[in-house]
Amino acid sequence: MTKVYVGMSGGVDSSLTAALLVERGYDVTGVYMKNWTQDMPGMRCPWADDLADAKRVAVQLGIDFKVFDFENDYKQKVVDYMIDEYRNGRTPNPDIMCNQEVKFKLFLDTALEDGADMIATGHYAKVKDGVLLQAADTNKDQTYFLYRVTGEALTKTLFPLGDFTKPEVREMAMQRGLYTAAKKDSQGICFVGKIGIREFLSQYVDQKPGSVIDKNTGKVLGQHDGAIFYTLGQRHGLDVGGGLPYYVVGKDMDKNEVYVTTDLNDGALWKTDIKLSNVHWINNTPAAGNYQIRVRHRAKLVQADLSYEADGVRLKLANTERAVTPGQSVVIYDDAVCLGGGIVI
């Protein structure tokens, strides 16, 4: 009997994942990955409820349950990476890093070492012979977050939810009476929690006043408390008040300056030519040519012409895309197949 370790977060998706695998005859063990959370002294740990929910479902299903403590690795590889990227003026995506470094590397390795034959998660994606495919639910498809996983890891991975839509998943969880069937989906970056990214970051970087400058006139419009907190295309939170809304179109981290415009058609906001670095291909490197790309999770797939350059990949788009932000990922598809992607320079 194939022994599968399922990452159980205490949410409905991973709960149903475990239930489906039990029904399909796998020997299933539930695993809660304890990732890094900020400890607030004297406060109740925010993850305790999720852990208890995950365990409750494991007990309901009559399967073994383990806790893998990845706190230190998670802090180094996901949290510190995220803070560094922000420091360098980019807008990183920690979920992608978490999948690359923790779920499909550390978790996989630890599970295999512990006796598992495969792992499974509640991601909305499909995998076939080590090839990553978009989920049946195109609205929920999470391949965007999975493009940095290796093909080898995928040969040892099951995504049982790939064939279902989210409403179907809820319905199936209800039918099975799973304890988490009606639990609200989690939002945002887990370790940042409810406080929001700005407040989270301000614990690690000094607030430093700088100028908000109109890109076109060069005029100083106001002050901000650190260029690090601003991201391309951002409209709100700019303390320059009055008149048309301003949008962030650039920043200079050395000078600690944020550049803004009221021009919705500003070239910095719209790109047809994207350069990617740190390119990762799940399986083989695809030939140059026409593919589909996605510039953010749940964004519509758009046509792009892929070519190779010395230091990365160049994508030429038929139509413009808004706010293609340095540090964010662009993921490349060949129809249903997620090929890989890279990070916007």
Binding site: G42, R44, C45, W47, A48, L51, R56, V59, Q60
Partner: protein
Amino acid sequence: MDGRVLAVMEPYFSNYFYNPSSPYAPAVTVRRRYEEAKHSLAKNIGSKPDEIVITAGATESINLAFGAVSGHVVTANIEHHAVLSAANSHDNTIVSADLHGLIAVELIKAAIRPDTQLVSIALANNELGTIQPIREIAHLIKQERQTRLLAGNQTPIYLHTDASQGVGQIDCNVARLGVDMMTLNAGKIYGPKQVGLLWAASHVKLVPQIVGGGQERGLRSGTENVAGTIGFAKALDLASEHRKYESDRLQKLRDDLQTKLTDTFPEAVVSGHPKHRLAGHLHISFPNIDAERMVFVLEARGVLVATGSACAANKGTRSHVLTAIGLSDEVADGSLRLTLGHLSDEENINQASQIIIEEVKREYARTNR
């Protein structure tokens, strides 16, 4: 909550919602009912009404008690987090309980220094049910006071007990216990949550921890929790009235349950003092069983049990009490706290014991497959 408690509280959420400090007649009625409730509370613990401060529960009472002193304090390693945290803000000595969770009077005696101002020991331990020798400790404190008097040492020394856990089953008359301060909590006796009291003898100088409008003789500001206090008074009335009967009844049920479980599972470990233990309390460990799993299995079958300690379970760490009494990890992690109460009877305790036996067997079978 006891239905009778809820019934007496209800009017103070509706027709009698007036602020007891307001001048008009209906508010004065509310004030009078509030004072009557405090009289009733006082009567049940053998004190005067103006020695009682109504708080928002035992944790606040404990903070108020510790706030009365600035010097050295003595407490024990199995005390509730509220006590241990409060002790942490003072120079302190923490004595160790024995393997039954009993705190030896001699250890307290040895821990008392000339500058010790407070000894705080719970009447009964919340996890193990062990009842502490409070009267003997009170006697010790009286001797210490004599010694100080003769030596010309003017440092006061008080004994505080958190009797929240014991008040339903043990006589909590402050004079008979011989304590200087006592904490009670309504929630533990089928009363409302967020209501408690601190009784302090008239010679204790309390220092307000919450200041404002000067309610509770200036010791605890904030509009009085009228409904809560009236509910608390009713709950304590009922607890006092049925104490003896209820205690005997629960002890028999508990002993039956304990025998059934230990006969079936000879490897099970019962913690807490064999004799000096709360009647409705059974702390039992099934070595190598994951107690948290048992909580989830049992709740699905209608049997609600706690693990070592609810608070500790929430933090995902082992109970400090179980570590303190020297339980090994594999025993501590298999610990269930079974508490019996008003709703327990022969039939449902029999059922519960059957279900627990089935599920523990099933779990042993599952893990040994």
